[in-house]
Chain length 227, copies 2
DNA sequence: CCCTTTATGCGTACCTCATACGCAAAACCT
DNA sequence: AGGTTTTGCGTATGAGGTACGCATAAAGGG
């Protein structure tokens, strides 16, 4: 038998509590004291199961995602599209995920399962193994970037909605000198930014779809040139 | 004339000092006290010119980049490619840029200049104003995501190089169950991860180029369908 | 059944930071 | 010079991460 007093909590419990706090109040609210309070323990009790706050953050990142979803039948393109949207959804559900620094290549079971899922979508295409990896990495990268942008803008919007109203287009008209920035000036003049809500959720989704479309289009062309 | 004591420093000085600290010791080392010491002032003196640390961070983000580079003559594709590579280079030179949370749509002169530069590359294409914005946003997003990944991996690599050696491929062979992750298992078996240095700088650059190629290919197809 | 061994729970204390507040020095105005 | 305004900055407060050490609980040995 194991000697010594029995542990009443373990790292998984702490991770769960920390995630609960992050979900409810954001990653900034995750302090050792706050997490301990969440579980009804003393602050320093946590350090018996977790070396440091950094380690706790890594554990949180590992546990943040659900299993990858089942992909629809059909073309690789539909599958990858669904995969990308699911990943975006996952990040949006836990936006604090983006603030946790990565410390190495993926080894967690969840990350690998997602990786596998995307690679599976490319089964049946004439791409070489290395190319498949490249395509999936590129897509991950795009989704990650898009999520980051959208999360950042969401936060900004919550802090100061006025920034995203027609005020922004107006402001640009004042700042942008047509001589120094001719291309931007044309876009501003065309009224692209003259909308009531620059951060309309549907627009953000449409932007994502557009970028995703472009990327997948590129993959299709690449596959075409190979077949 | 202005009344009152003359300021001995201004926000730009503080921003410069903060950037010097971040360049030398990372963003984590940027505290108000550390920045003040860097300039030979007292900590609280900074608050006369900067409302909060958050504001300082925003100023830093604005000042982190150089002016956008002159783009090569030729096709929009070459121009956008050069632009994306320049942006990646800029982020790599100041990796801490990625850790600064965005608080709204871009209004800084530098950000706008970069935006204008990319839009200028699309001049002459039959895209509508809104589509140009979409393309540029998508590309920015991709570059940002790629930079984030590469910076994160660089840090991980510095902390523990062994993680990125052949050990990784070996580890995957053990972890990946061909029944649960068939697609990944195939890739692993194909030896894609069996390289001495998974994080070879040239490989990372090649990955970026591949993803960039795919994205631009997609834009080309989209333009083709429009003309 | 008591004593030693071992591991946990956690109170105390220290250090680093961001920042509110207030006073004194400096520069302008009359 | 005296008043006014603005800057420089010392002090103080409160939050957060974590080293340290003691008390407590559980298991094994006699």
């Amino acid at each position: 038998m194991k000697r010594g007093r029995k542990p009443t909590i373990d790292a998984a419990d702490i991770t769960r509590a920390a995630i609960a706090v992050a979900d409810a109040e954001g990653l900034a609210a995750v302090s050792m004291a706050r997490v301990a309070q969440e579980m009804g323990n003393a602050t320093m009790a946590l350090y018996r199961h977790v070396k440091s706050k950094d380690e706790l953050l890594t554990l949180m990142a590992d546990a943040a995602f659900d299993e990858p979803p089942a992909l629809p039948d059909g073309e690789w393109r539909d599958k990858l599209g669904a995969w990308a949207r699911a990943m975006l959804g996952g990040i949006r559900r836990r936006p604090w995920f983006l603030q946790i620094p990565m410390s190495g290549p993926p080894t967690g079971p969840k990350s690998l399962a997602w990786f596998d899922s995307a690679l599976g979508a490319l089964e049946g295409t004439p791409l070489e193994a290395g190319e498949k990896v490249g395509v999936v990495m590129g897509l991950m990268t795009f989704v990650h970037g898009e999520a980051w942008l959208s999360v950042a803008l969401t936060k900004g919007f919550e802090n100061d909605p006025a920034q995203f109203s027609r005020e922004y287009g107006q402001r640009l008209r004042e700042i942008v000198d047509p001589r120094r920035m001719p291309a931007l000036a044309k876009i501003v003049a065309a009224g692209v930014f003259d909308v009531d809500d620059l951060f309309d959720a549907d627009d953000v989704a449409a932007d994502f779809d557009f970028g995703l479309h472009l990327f997948l289009e590129g993959v299709a062309t690449h596959i075409g040139g190979r077949a």
